[in-house]
């Protein structure tokens, strides 16, 4: 019987490396013929601990046949449950109001306010930007930190620290992984990338700065800038990229951007909640300098997203920035 793909692969990965912890063994999902003689087998250990022979017999039976039964049941049940969920969702959709109709409950005074008054209340002609960064700016602050926490989690998982206990950089030749691979200077790639990377940065910056007056904003512009960084790393190699974007720059930019974002938002919320005037110049709608605080917020978010995207790439590729 085929082992349950992803989980088994993960288990193999976990147990292949240097992380082994004594006195623990995971029963592999999907494996039927368990080797009962291996002392690490959890069920056998349970059987040995069991004082009553009936429990020991049951544990031994389960180790032999139980996993097979569970596997077949698992497949059937998982398909059933997914189908049920799909059915429920489809049923709900049938009862929901039709999409785009003017009598929808979602078309209410809230949406009207956003659409009609964004320009004079927030200074941004792009209502979406006004909505996410000004009206509901707190949620966006949370989302930016979701990105941050995700990046930190990937760092925790994948970053290989020099001299870290229990881990060492695997030898590329030995494991076949090309973490240390540097490009061999492909001419076409370099020339094209030399043209595209600055364009990517420029365009990304444009999207970020124009977020208040045209579709765009911090997240999309940041993704573009991140793509530019990744293209640079792919074409020219990590060494050259690290000359201007290494670990220190990453941390500096990320921290500064998030701290600045939080401070701006805190100022804005504090002033608003306490009924004080926050003296923010809303700018000239339709130009770059508009939207009040939305502009610096977009900039901060854009830089942060760019850093995050590159960080993911670098961590997966070579285990560090």
């Amino acid at each position: 019987m085929k082992p349950n793909g992803f989980l088994a692969a993960l288990v193999r990965f976990a147990e292949s490396g240097e992380f082994r912890e004594e006195s623990y063994a995971l029963p592999r999902a999907g494996k039927t013929a368990l080797d009962l003689d291996t002392p690490e087998n959890r069920w056998l250990a349970a059987a040995q601990h069991a004082e009553k022979p009936a429990a020991a017999r049951f544990a031994a039976w389960f180790a032999r046949r139980g996993m097979a039964v569970f596997d077949s049941l698992y497949r059937v049940l998982s398909v059933l449950i997914c189908c049920t969920l799909i059915g429920v969702l489809l049923a709900v959709v049938c009862f929901l109001p039709p999409f785009g109709s003017a009598e929808n409950p979602t078309v209410n005074e809230v949406v009207e306010r956003y659409v009609c008054h964004t320009v004079d209340e927030t200074g941004a002609t792009n209502a979406v930007a006004g909505m996410i960064s000004a009206y509901r700016g707190f949620d966006t602050l949370g989302e930016a930190h979701v990105l941050f926490v995700a990046a930190c989690s990937v760092i925790v998982l994948l970053r290989v620290d020099a001299g870290a206990r229990g881990r060492r950089r695997p030898d590329p030749a030995q494991t076949g992984r090309d973490m240390e691979y540097e490009p061999n200077g492909d001419l076409i790639l370099r020339r094209v990338a030399g043209l595209l990377v600055p364009l990517a940065f420029l365009f990304g910056l444009y999207v970020v700065l124009n977020g208040t007056s045209s579709p765009g904003g911090g997240f999309s512009g940041g993704a573009l800038m991140g793509a530019g960084l990744i293209l640079h790393a792919v074409a020219f190699g990590f060494e050259r990229t690290e000359r201007f974007f290494g670990d220190a720059v990453y941390h500096l930019v990320k921290t500064a951007c998030l701290a600045a974002y939080a401070l701006l938002m805190a100022y804005f919320i504090y002033m608003g909640a306490n009924g004080l005037d926050d003296h923010v110049w809303l700018g000239i709608p339709g130009t770059i300098l508009s939207g009040g605080l939305i502009l610096p917020i977009n900039l901060a978010v854009g830089l942060e997203v760019a850093c995050t995207m590159y960080c993911f790439y670098a961590l997966f590729r070579k285990g560090g920035l």
Partner: protein, 499 residues
Amino acid sequence: MALVQNFPFITIVFSLTCGVLCAVLPGRGAKRLCLGWLALTTAMSGAVLRFTLTTDGSFLYRMGKWGAPFGNELRVGVLEALMATAFSGVMLLSLLGGMRHIFADCEPGKVNLYFTMCALLMSSLFALIYTNDLFTAYVFVEINTIASCALVMLRSSDRTLVATTRYLIMSLLGSGLFLLGIVTLYGITGELLLESIAEKVQALFAAGQYSLPLTVIIGFFSVGLAVKSALFPFHSWLPDAHGSATPSSSAILSGLVLKGYIIVLIKIFYRVFGLEIIVSEQVSRFLLLFGVLAMLVGSVNALRERDLKRLLAYSSVAQVGYIYVGIGLHSELGMVAACVQILAHALTKPMLFICAGGFMDVSGGHKDLAAITGAGLRDPLGGAAFSVGALSMMGIPFFAGFVTKLELARGALEAGPVTLGITFAALAVSTLLNALYYIPIVFNLYTRPRDGAWAGVRQRYHWEYAAALAAFIALNLGFGMGSDWVVGAIRRGLALFGM
């Protein structure tokens, strides 16, 4: 507006910043920043609590220039302030108690990220407690999920990796269902602030419109949050995750993170739908049933365990069952009981996990029950704290657990005979099972090992460990003996909750 009223928002936003800063500081610096900030947030939340108690009201805090329903809002009342203070204090004490293990278990270059995750987790817990908006709740539920997975994963071993993966997958499933619920609810009401939704929902129920979507929405919310808070039968991720993490992480996850999701569920039930609708939809019956099953299954599984931390994790499953039984009684007294159990468990279970960490120290790093024989003799303070925790779990008067049982019984006595019978039977059996696995451990702790293993080893008391355990014991006894005040505050808070 008084300065104190700004504190909730300050605690949320600047906890985020504290987390960001911790990521760039070295390990020790991050620790000091995080601990200092947690002490400050505890003090601030305490000030908010005092404010709400003296003014005897709850206040709305506009997050920005625009109030509901255009902008974001926080709602701060007695109950929220009480929970915030308690959670902040417990996280501080959990970090203190397990500090040595944090530095030993995590890679040296990543210790600062541990404190980042703690700070972000604290921020999201505050946000979940205070928020008055569904989508904000979702955003911070995401932060909560990822940060808690990272907390498990920071102790790098094969076991924690697999446990984290399972936790992440199931948690995201729960988040996904929660998001589907929010989206569908928005689709039929057009609002995201809780009070605004409540008006629309009442109108829809009165008119009989969208009945199937509303039922399904309640189902999505319940199942989604039940998966994330490890209600039976969605608890299978909990023993691995909590049992293999470093003691501080287990303490924080068991004591605080699970409760954050339950608080969101209580908010949705109380403020969005109202108790009458919840009752009429029979949701509470399922929650009661699963709560009772959780109490039994959790304890039965704990009996079979030989690993101390997995045993405590299964015990958490049972204790979460108590909370859901309280919610499932669908009466005001039942909700009071649920909130009391949230606080009591948050005070007890972290203490037990910290003690487990201490026992591992004096037993050569092993944590199975055979290895910790005599650990109470080698680590007297840890043994005393574990005994206090065990007696509290059993429900002996003077300890926190007894207050829970008392309030649950009071709530059950108001319900119908069948509910009453089931609840009492479950309480009796659960107490019995708790005694069956906690008392032998306590005896085991104070029995000298026959082969004289680790005979001369003594616990070296760092001030952090000793202070944390002493504070936990004092809080537990204080809660057990002075519960009058707390229960009264909870009652007042719940009365304001539904307004």
